[in-house]
């Protein structure tokens, strides 16, 4: 039986409420941390645990904490990133909706470790009902002495508030999030300086994902070494995966890192295989920004090894035959899905969400959207495929923040692995004008048309 850390108590009725949460061992992590540990000891435990940022970048969390500037004497802040907007990702919402006190408990311990006295949870504006759940939970935490002045008589003061965004994907990028929290447009900042030195109001700040912070209480209670004993290599602990697409059981799952993709996808304990018994065509393991992979690279790496749900195994093969664990937004496609249409859909998303600061991203995402749209609707040209390839290459690496890369990678991967679909679209425009073109005639059935045109 796989171990659960975040969702261990999720089945308990009423776990959303303070009393039930407390009765089931809730806030014991805060007691242990504040009464028996020093901030540095907590940072060490988190380092030992090997936990990596669960928002998508996978940066070691303990290391990030150790960068925070404690020498300048300026006020420090923890900001929890609950601006979950990566397409395919809905795990943080699940945690906050069903067990909000786990996040608040983690935020208290983490703030104590960073010696912060004013911290925020930045939640996306569309999650307004979750915002209200958090507001209520924070009130309960104040009422029971877990927040405010002199917590547990230890002399430690902490104020924690929840702050709502207003519909901008870019605010998930940590410096854009900080700008937004300062009441501005969400334009990412040039780094360095990093937030650990100059973040919220130019004060040292650590920004961590909801899932990462929610694991802190368990790590404090059970020790970093125990956490690190779960998983494989540098992928320690558990990870929430939000699964969607053409699978039998979509939803949020907590897995031990190291599970095989095959078991996750096909066992009844998890996704239960494909719906409608249509064949698997492609998947995206970590949210829309990471490369899409075709069926042959899903269960096995290019070397023929089992593909595992770990940071390393999913990235095996680089971007040529691998992808990335990213945020854990696991999207599965069957053969009725059109890769061109899907890529156009994502490009529209990135174009819509580009903040507009850097020209390669502002203009490039729009060009890609337009070109993909004309290919998808039957007005594409043969040279459009090369044009797309060229544009994505000029965005990648040339922008202030990673949104540019995130917009370029899906396009590059789609062309790399599914070039024939793009060719089919430009050569048989009449066939693709029906938007459900692959429902009745999947690529498998029409592939022979392409070889014919080549022979001619």
């Amino acid at each position: 039986m796989a171990r659960k850390i975040l969702l261990e108590n999720i089945h308990i009725p009423g776990i959303k409420e303070y009393e039930v949460y407390r009765k089931n061992g809730g806030y014991s992590g805060v007691e242990k941390a504040l009464k028996t540990m020093t901030p540095d000891q907590i940072v060490e435990e988190v380092k030992t645990s090997g936990i990596r940022g669960r928002g998508g970048a996978g940066f070691p969390m303990g290391l990030k904490w150790s960068f925070i500037d404690k020498k300048s004497g300026k006020p420090r802040h923890l900001v929890v990133n609950a601006d979950e907007s990566e397409p395919g990702t809905f795990k943080d919402r699940f945690l906050m909706e069903h067990i909000p006190h786990l996040l608040i408990e983690g935020a208290i311990i983490s703030s104590f470790a960073l010696e912060a006295h004013l911290s925020y949870i930045y939640i996306r504006g569309e999650y307004m009902w979750v915002f209200k759940i958090l507001e209520k939970a924070i009130k309960e935490a104040y009422a029971n002495g877990w927040l405010g002045k002199n917590i547990l008589g230890t002399g430690y003061d902490l104020d924690l508030y929840v702050h709502c965004g207003a519909g901008a994907y870019i605010c998930g990028e940590e410096t854009a999030l900080i700008e937004s929290l300062e009441g501005k447009r969400g334009n990412p900042r040039i780094k360095p300086p990093f937030p650990a030195v100059s973040g919220l109001w130019a004060e040292p700040t650590v920004v961590n994902n909801v899932e990462s912070i929610s694991a802190v209480s368990w790590i404090v209670n059970n020790g970093g070494a125990e956490y690190a004993s779960i998983g494989v290599g540098k992928s320690t602990g558990t990870k929430l995966i939000s699964a969607s697409g053409h699978i039998k059981n979509p939803g949020v799952y907590e897995i031990e890192l190291g599970l095989t993709v095959d078991e996750f996808m096909n066992s009844d304990e998890y996704l239960g295989g494909m719906i409608d018994d249509r064949p698997l065509k492609a998947f995206i393991p970590g949210g829309s920004s990471v490369p899409i992979l075709p069926a042959q690279y899903i269960f096995k790496t290019a070397n023929g090894e089992d593909r595992l749900m770990t940071y390393e195994s999913l990235a095996d093969g680089g971007f040529t035959t691998g992808s990335s664990l990213g945020s854990g937004g696991f999207i599965v496609y069957n053969d009725s899905a059109c890769v061109v249409r899907n890529t156009w859909n994502f490009s529209r998303f990135y174009h819509h969400e580009s903040c507009g600061q850097c020209s390669p991203c502002r203009e490039g995402t729009g060009w890609m959207e337009k070109i993909l749209h004309r290919i998808e609707t039957g007005y594409g040209r043969e040279e459009d495929i090369e044009l797309l390839w060229s544009i994505q290459g000029k965005i990648e690496g040339n922008t202030i923040c990673p949104l540019g890369d995130a917009a370029a990678w899906p396009v590059a991967a789609a062309i790399r692995h599914f070039r024939e679909e793009f060719e089919y679209h430009v050569r048989f425009p009449e066939k693709v004008k029906n938007i459900k073109h692959f429902v009745d005639e999947p690529m498998e059935k029409v592939r022979h048309l392409l070889t014919k045109t080549v022979q001619q």
């Binding site: 569309e126 709502c164 009441g183 979509p250 949020v252 994502f346």
Partner: protein, 174 residues
């Protein structure tokens, strides 16, 4: 699109003022501007879900900032509206994970049922249909947001019931 002048009556009620004061208390006294997004949400919610220039100017006074600082924020974030929308605005997710599970069909159905195009509002000002980007409900597709709430695992039948409930005033928006 035709140009129309929309008028908005500004009314900072005592309840709204109390909420604004509470939100301002979450930030250091010299960092009032940080309350921008929460205050805009509160003010917009109390003013039929949109923000006129006059109302934005009032928010600037509340936050001690220049009006331009409010305009640039309102125009950046999609959740702030600069003109009135239907009382019941159906915001359908149109991003990949939803579309492959019938999201596009649902938008088409909604538009047909209400006799409007995506982005439009019905003559009576009651309903709007808008396509929006990923709302974080990918596993529960297709879905729409109405007010503060999500309606997931949508079907045509469920949408019919929802529209009927709206007409009868049975739907809570916040």
């Amino acid at each position: 699109m035709e140009r129309r002048e929309y008028k908005q009556e500004i009314n900072i009620t005592p309840e709204l003022q109390a909420r604004i004061d509470e939100l301002l208390s979450h930030y250091p006294a010299d960092k009032k501007k940080s309350a921008m997004l929460p205050v805009l949400h509160a003010v917009q919610d109390a003013h039929e879900n949109w923000l006129s220039v006059e109302l934005m100017n009032r928010v600037a006074e509340i936050l001690d900032v220049k009006p331009i600082e409010v305009y640039e924020v309102v125009t950046f974030y999609t959740m702030f509206n600069q003109r009135p929308r239907g009382k019941y605005t159906f915001e359908f997710c149109r991003t990949s994970c939803c579309t492959i599970r019938g999201g596009e069909d649902m938008i088409e159905y909604a538009c047909k049922k209400l006799g409007i195009k995506e982005g439009e509002t019905t003559e009576d000002g009651l309903f709007s249909v808008v396509g929006v980007e990923c709302l974080g409900a990918c596993g529960y597709a297709p879905m729409l947001q109405l007010g503060d709430f999500y309606h997931e695992h949508l079907t045509e039948e469920k949408f019919d019931v929802l529209v009927e409930d709206c007409k009868q005033g049975k739907i809570k928006l916040d």
